[in-house]
């Protein structure tokens, strides 16, 4: 009789425990696929997040702008999208035209999930980055003019208006996500020149954050996010990080290295396996203030 009286409560407790365990299980990701370290190389400090991509469990997603259909901002879109997903890291992506979140637009050609955000090519940004439906990130060097898209035999030169429209129409029809950034290294070579003019923005010193794609010493595909806290110019920062990756991390190849904006919208968060945020490695702005977000998640 006593047992029967407590049966509903015990059942409820059991369901609660099971559901809690289930929720916790959803938030976890495989720790072996992520490596977070802090290293000092030639008296420079680097915070390094290595994401192993060989078994396609880690994917990328880019939010470029407010959704034109429902007016949800980037942070709102991210909060909705991330439900039920294991987030590993979030970072601000490309540069914006202003610092104000209300008016800021991504600099350079930008397409968000097939929706045009910015049609204009920014000639100062040499890399065109494509985040495909599988969550892979690919970069092409715009000056090479040899972008290939499925179903088009001819190489596309994005600088040519006719080709660019062919590409944009393809991106629209295939819900592609595209943005531009500084292409600092490409095909295992540095792709940046020293700044000659001390008045230009290239001479400005700031802490830097880079995204790299390549293969590690075991020839396995990786993405690396490197945060360099010391104040450097873009050129100096890129050269130091390139050397660090080649000499210290012994990366076999660097497919590309792009800059992630740490200017007006310095957003970065690293999530632990239990879903909590790392306090020792983060940007100066909260995710809710983000104007665009590059997200790495585990599936």
């Amino acid at each position: 009789m006593t047992f029967q009286r407590y049966l509903p409560s015990l059942t409820a407790l059991l369901i609660f425990l099971i559901s809690t365990a289930f929720i916790k299980g959803v938030e976890e990701y495989d720790e072996d696929l992520i490596e977070v370290t802090t290293a000092v190389f030639k008296s420079e400090k680097f915070h390094v997040v290595v994401l192993k991509r060989q078994n396609q469990r880690i994917s990328a997603k880019y939010f470029a702008a407010t959704d034109p259909y429902n007016n949800k901002t980037v942070p709102e879109r991210f909060q909705l999208w991330k439900k039920g997903k294991n987030i590993i890291a979030v970072s601000s992506g490309t540069y914006m035209t202003t610092c104000s979140p209300q008016t800021a637009k991504p600099a350079g050609l930008c397409i968000d999930n097939g929706v045009i955000v910015n049609n204009s090519i920014d000639s100062r940004l040499g890399g065109l980055i494509i985040v495909n439906q599988k969550g892979d990130i690919k970069a092409t060097k715009i000056s090479d003019g040899n972008l290939s898209i499925p179903g088009n035999n001819k190489a596309i030169d994005i600088k040519n208006s006719f080709d660019r429209n062919t590409f944009i129409n393809w991106a629209k029809n295939n819900d592609a996500t595209v943005f531009q950034s500084h292409l600092l290294a490409y095909d295992d070579l540095l792709n940046i020149s020293p700044c000659n003019n001390t008045q230009q923005s290239c001479a400005k010193k700031a802490s830097r954050r880079f995204l790299i794609a390549g293969t590690d010493e075991n020839n396995e595909r990786i993405n690396v996010i490197i945060h360099s806290p010391s104040e450097t110019t873009l050129y100096d920062g890129a050269v130091k990080v390139f050397r660090f990756l080649k000499e210290y991390k012994e990366m076999k190849s660097i497919h590309f290295m792009i800059n992630l904006d740490t200017g007006c919208q310095d957003v970065f968060n690293l999530y632990y396996t239990d879903g909590s945020k790392a306090n020792n490695l983060k940007g100066t702005l909260h995710e809710n203030d983000a104007v665009n977000l590059l997200v790495f998640h585990y599936e």
């Binding site: 202003t98 637009k105 600099a107 955000v117 049609n119 208006s161 006719f162 429209n165 007006c264 203030d289």
Partner: protein, 258 residues
């Protein structure tokens, strides 16, 4: 009247007639397409079909009168654009789709020459007129037709040039981006999702952040981006200013009591 005058006049007239006939005949082939296209743009009596048929028969795509079209075309003249579209559609049936691209390249290159020789694209007023002109192409880029990519590319080509020049103007004349013309052009371009990117100076970034009440961000940036010496100098200045203010208040209160 002398007897030889009449034969001489007849001979001269004959020579002139032969000369006129020969020059007409020799130049007819060159002029024909040219004039037909000119008439095509000036009236509705000549059909696009006849011109295309003519080119098809001659099989001479290299004679396509790009320059004439470029010079006669007004970017904002939708009617002419539609006629040109018809022409392009027919032309497509002649050879592969690359012909569209050839026409686009030829048109944009020729228009570039025509515009850049005659106007200064680094002048904001001229750029504003061109922006209004190019806006006229926009409806054609939306039309649901096979060749809309031709118009999209042409529209894109000109807006891209406007954006580039706008950015160049803003970089060479800093204050120009606060003028009405600049703001108007950039607003029109943004309407079509072409966003000029002129970069921001440090002062503009600070003002932007102040306007958005992002004080903690500004404080963080200050802490991160200044040297120890700069921080010390600022601390000394702030201490001095605070002391002055406090001393003034104290003095005022004291004088008020007495």
């Amino acid at each position: 009247m002398k007897k030889w005058i009449i034969p001489v006049i007849i001979t001269l007239l004959t020579v002139i007639a032969i000369g006129v006939f020969l020059s007409y005949y020799l130049h007819r082939n060159d002029q024909n397409d040219y004039r037909q296209v000119q008439r095509f743009y000036n009236s509705s009596t000549i059909s696009a079909d006849s011109i295309v048929q003519k080119i098809r028969n001659k099989n001479s795509y290299e004679n396509f009168p790009y320059r004439l079209i470029a010079e006669n075309i007004s970017l904002s003249n939708i009617e002419k654009q539609q006629e040109l579209l018809k022409y392009v559609q027919y032309s497509d049936s002649l050879i592969d789709n690359n012909f569209q691209e050839l026409i686009f390249i030829a048109l944009s290159d020729t228009l570039k020459k025509v515009y850049e020789q005659s106007i200064d694209l680094n002048d904001l007023n001229t750029l504003l007129s061109l922006t209004n002109e190019v806006s006229g192409l926009y409806p054609m880029t939306l039309a649901n037709q096979k060749n809309k990519i031709f118009y999209q590319a042409l529209f894109d080509y000109w807006l891209q040039r406007i954006i580039q020049n706008l950015e160049h103007i803003a970089q060479s004349h800093y204050w120009s981006k606060y003028t009405f013309e600049y703001k108007y052009i950039s607003t029109v371009c943004e309407q079509y999702n072409y966003n000029p990117s002129t970069g921001l100076s440090s002062a503009e970034k600070v003002l932007d952040n102040f306007a958005d009440n992002r004080y903690s961000y500004l404080f963080n940036r200050f802490v991160l981006q200044t040297t120890l010496l700069q921080k010390t100098i600022l601390f000394i200045i702030l201490t001095f200013v605070t002391s002055c203010v406090l001393f003034t208040i104290y003095t005022l209160l004291k004088s008020g009591k007495s």
